[in-house]
Symmetry: C2
C-alpha cells in the first residue's frame, strides 16, 4: 500500500485550461506587434518597448508580464529580456524564426476549426477539416510556406543522420514534400544526391523555390499529384515520408508504404518522420497531444505509436521498424527495414 | 559569477502556447459531452465512456489521452480515472462544479473578445469589452449565474474569517454582489447579520434567488443601481468588495472606497477580495495572469498589487491595508484599516 501525501483539490488547472486560449491570444499579439524583435533589439523597459512597437504602456506592460508568467520572457526588476528559446524561435531575424508557423497554427482557420464546435469532432470522431481538403487546396500552399521553420530542426537532424550513411543515397524521394524542408536538407548534406519531391502542383512551386534558394535547384525534380496514385519513378536509395502518414488510417498508410517499398532500389532505405507518442499514448506531451490536432483536422489521422507504425510496415511488406529521436525537435525518425 | 547549466533552446514552449487554444477546446468538448460525469459514474474504458456519452471511440480515446496529458485524468493501462480536483470541480453533481463557469469563461463572447484581434487591445491598452458594458447589460446576469462556483471557495474562506470576529458584523454591505456568493456566505455563517446587496436590478434577481435557496432570504436586502452613485444606506459593520475594484483605475477605485468608508458604522470593517499578484507582477501565476483578462475585457482595470491597493485605501481616507490568502482559491482578502 502506498502512502502518498494527497494535496487538497484545487481549481487551478481548471482555471488555467479554461483560459488557455488567452495564452494563444497573447502570443499572437506579441508576434504581430514584433514585441520580441523590440526586446531582442535592446528595448527592456515597458516605456522603451511600447515606443518601439507603437502600443499603449498598459497593453505592453500587461502583455510582457503575461509572457513572463508563461515563460517567454524573464523579468528583472521592471525590465524584460528574452529567454534563449524566444530569441531563437520568435525573433523575425533569426534563421529559426517560427513566426510564419504561428500565423498558420493559430490563424483564423485553425482557431475556427477547433473552437467553433469542439463537441462535434469528438462526437463524430473526426472532421473533414483542413487536412482533408480537396486536391490542390490552397491551404497546402500556405502550409508549405509557413511550416518550413517548424519542420526545420527535424529535417536538419534527419539529414545529418543520412549524411553519415555508407553508402550515401544518390536517388531520394520526398513524399508530401510541402516546403521541401526534408529533401532539401538531405540534398545539401549529400552533394551526390538528387531529390524528387511529391506534392500538389502549387505546393511544389514553393518547394522548388526553396530548393533554388538553398542552391540545390539543379538536383531537384518534382512529381505533382496525389501521393497514392502519382507515378513518382523508381529505384530510390532513400524514401522520406515526413509528416504524411499521420493524416491517414492504418489501411491507407499500408497502401502508401507498399507503394514506397516497390519504388526502392536494392538496399534502398525508408524513413518516416513523425510525432510518435510512447505506447501509453500520453507521453511525451507534444507527440501525445498531436493526436488531438489530427482529431480536429482529419477524418482518421492519428499520432501513431511505434508498435502501430511497425504493424503498418509489416502489412506493407517490411520486416521491422526502429526509431530514434531528433532533438531538439519533438519528432522522431522511424526507419522501416526490409 | 554563476555557472548555470544552460539547456539548448527548444521550440516546445512555442508549440505548447501557439496551440494552447486546443486545451480550451478539449475541456469545452469534455464538459459539453459530460465526459467527466461518465468517468465519475464508473466508466473507465474508451468503450464504456464512448457508449455513455454517445460519441465515437476515436474521439473519446484521443480526447481522454489529451486530458490526461493536460492533467485532468489519470491513465492506468487503457483505463481512465479522474483526479480529485476533476471530481470536485468538473462533475455536474458536485456542489463545487465549475461547469457553468466554463461555459462563460470559454464561451463565444470571451473567445471572440480575446482571439479575434489580440493586437488591438494590446496596442490600444484596453477594450470596451464585456466588463465595461452599459448599465443593466444582460452579460452581468449571465456572469452572476455562472460565476457562483468560481467565487465559492473564496467566499467560503472569507465568511469563515468573518465568523471568527468579535464582535460579529450585524449590518453587511455586499458591493457588486453578482450571484450574491460572498454576502450569502457571510449571512449563513453569521446568523445575526443582515446583508444588503448592490448590483444591477436583474443581477440582484439572481442574488435574491440564491439567498432564498440558501435559507437567508429574510435577512437579505437589495439596492439596485450603479455602485458609484446608488444610495445603499449607512452604518455598515462590514462592507464586502468582492471582485469589483479590478475593473477600474486608481481614481475610480479611490472614489468608490471613499463612498464605502463614509458608509461604515463606528468600528465597521472593509474587505476587498481580489486576484492580487506579488509586487513583481509575475507571480503567482493565476493572479498575475488575471491582468491580461482585464486588458482584454476592460478599459482601465488591472490585477493590482497590495501596495497599489494600499495607495488607493490611503487616498480614500483609510490608514493601511493587510492581506491574507484564501486557500484553495487563487484570490486573497485585503482588509482596509481606518
Amino acid at each position: 500500500m502506498s502512502i502518498e501525501p494527497t494535496a487538497p483539490p484545487t481549481p487551478q488547472l481548471f482555471v488555467d485550461t479554461a483560459l488557455s486560449y488567452q495564452k494563444t491570444a497573447a502570443l499572437k499579439a506579441a508576434v504581430e506587434l514584433k514585441l520580441f524583435d523590440a526586446i531582442g533589439a535592446g528595448s527592456a523597459s515597458v516605456q522603451a518597448i511600447a515606443a518601439r512597437v507603437g502600443a499603449a504602456l498598459r497593453g505592453v506592460r500587461i502583455l510582457c508580464d503575461f509572457l513572463t508568467v508563461v515563460g517567454f520572457l524573464e523579468k528583472v526588476g521592471t525590465e524584460y529580456r528574452q529567454t534563449p528559446s524566444t530569441a531563437k524561435f520568435l525573433n523575425s531575424s533569426s534563421p529559426a524564426s517560427m513566426l510564419s508557423t504561428m500565423r498558420f497554427l493559430a490563424g483564423p482557420e485553425f482557431l475556427g476549426l477547433f473552437l467553433d464546435d469542439p463537441t462535434s469532432y469528438v462526437r463524430n470522431g473526426g472532421t473533414e477539416g483542413l487536412a482533408n481538403m480537396t486536391p490542390e487546396d490552397p491551404i497546402w500552399v500556405t502550409f508549405a510556406r509557413t511550416m518550413v521553420p517548424f519542420t526545420g530542426t527535424a529535417a536538419e537532424a534527419t539529414a545529418t543522420q543520412v549524411a553519415g550513411w555508407d553508402p550515401k543515397p544518390r536517388k531520394v524521394l520526398d513524399i508530401a514534400a510541402g516546403g521541401g524542408t526534408f529533401g532539401i536538407a538531405v540534398a545539401k548534406k549529400v552533394p551526390e544526391s538528387t531529390v524528387t519531391a511529391v506534392d500538389w502542383r502549387d505546393v511544389l512551386g514553393v518547394a522548388q523555390e526553396n530548393a533554388e534558394r538553398a542552391g540545390v535547384g539543379s538536383r531537384y525534380r518534382t512529381a505533382a499529384g496525389d501521393a497514392f496514385t502519382v507515378d513518382w519513378g523508381s529505384d530510390f536509395d532513400l524514401v522520406l515520408l515526413p509528416n504524411i502518414l499521420h493524416h491517414f488510417d492504418h489501411p491507407a498508410c499500408v497502401a502508401l508504404l507498399s507503394k514506397v517499398r516497390k519504388s526502392l532500389a536494392l538496399g534502398g532505405r525508408t524513413l518516416v518522420i513523425e510525432f510518435v507518442p510512447n505506447e501509453d499514448r500520453v507521453s511525451p506531451p507534444i507527440p501525445a497531444m498531436f493526436a488531438f490536432m489530427m482529431l480536429g483536422t482529419t477524418q482518421r489521422g492519428d499520432a501513431f505509436t511505434l508498435s502501430e507504425y511497425t504493424a503498418m510496415a509489416r502489412d506493407a511488406g517490411y520486416r521491422s521498424a526502429t526509431m530514434a529521436p531528433l532533438p531538439p525537435s519533438p519528432e522522431s525518425v522511424i526507419e522501416l527495414h526490409l
